[in-house]
Symmetry: C2
DNA sequence: GAGATTAACTTGGTCGGCCAAGGAATGCGC
DNA sequence: GCGCATTCCTTGGCCGACCAAGTTAATCTC
């Protein structure tokens, strides 16, 4: 889509056939692949979600709302583990799009209760199907054993990345473990 | 960092102990993990890069510039495979930050030549080191065989995702194959 | 060589993300 | 009860990323 006819001149000259990896990235080939896969995966998800009226990232919020019903916004924020401001703005857009309803919490005048609209619940099935299609496409050509192994390894990577990300290793490890 | 003391109320009530995965995502567990790993990995990369004066995403542009020297912007765009407008704005910021120099191409008055500044070249080593650290951290606890397997599987996933992303499957497959 | 096409950016808009800072309500200590 | 810290959410700013549209220059066509 970006790289078209590929007569692109000399920049991509593969000298010999040695290293396709940038010099500065040679100590991190897997990290490089993760980055690329991440982007491709997000694009693929976004493409399929666009047809449903969702932007990439919103899926996770909606998924939690479908599961949990009316939730305090702060709980939602903890569930999806995003910055509060990110969630606020996303919810404003989701509300305007009619996917979400918000109302003040009668028990706590600071808090806001969020829930998926009835209309949006129709999306659940389609999102689930799309998500399944994405999975199929992502894992095409991998047999069950390979899929399991990939899941295992990615799980381990997730745990690894969690520990450093969080300021409190213990807590991060606990959370990472929970997801497994 | 976000999920703190975790007394978070009833929202995350693990009913029984069955599914930690949202209902709508149950057909795509690996996709879910990929999304989480992607975000964590980007955050980890961003954290380490911030100390070097780079924002996440800029690394890839700089890496290519360090390798390729002065390049036409259009070639750079093809190399990193991003939207032209994304690269334009990123370069404006990189230029203002002193990491990059831009000048018109004498041979083509439409085009712009981009190169890393001498100052930025000092970053190469540090970025490489950081990238290596990130790799170590990401793959901690995996033995060489597991790392190789993960790389192989991710490569396959990348190929899979490439085909659908591009409008021309042939071209995408070719490009995907090139990266392996 | 004039006219249409294509290539190479740029600008403006929108979203997802983050950080920093602020305002409002609650809860705690005393 | 009063004050101070916490919690909850919002706003503004910034950056990466996309799309759509527009501008300028090269190129192709006749």
């Amino acid at each position: 889509m970006k790289a078209e006819t590929g007569t692109a001149g000399a920049a991509q000259a593969d000298p010999a056939c040695s290293e396709r990896l940038p010099l500065a990235a040679q100590d991190g080939p897997v990290s490089m692949t993760i980055s690329r896969v991440a982007r491709l995966h997000r694009i693929a998800a976004g493409k399929v979600l666009k047809g449903l009226g969702l932007y990439p990232g919103q899926e996770f919020v909606m998924m939690h709302l479908w599961d949990a019903g009316p939730v305090r916004q702060s709980d939602l924020i903890k569930a999806v583990d995003l910055d509060p401001s990110t969630v606020t703005k996303m919810l404003q857009r989701l509300e305007q799009a009619g996917h979400v309803r918000r109302r003040p919490d009668p028990d706590d005048r600071r808090a806001v209760l969020v829930e998926a609209t009835d209309a949006s619940c129709g999306l659940l099935t389609e999102v689930r199907r799309s998500w399944g299609d994405l999975e199929d496409h992502t894992l095409a050509g991998l047999d069950p054993a390979e899929r399991a192994e990939l899941a295992r390894l990615l799980g381990r990577v997730e745990t690894n990345l969690c520990v450093e990300t969080a300021d409190c290793p213990e807590e991060a490890a606990r959370r990472a473990a929970l997801r497994r």
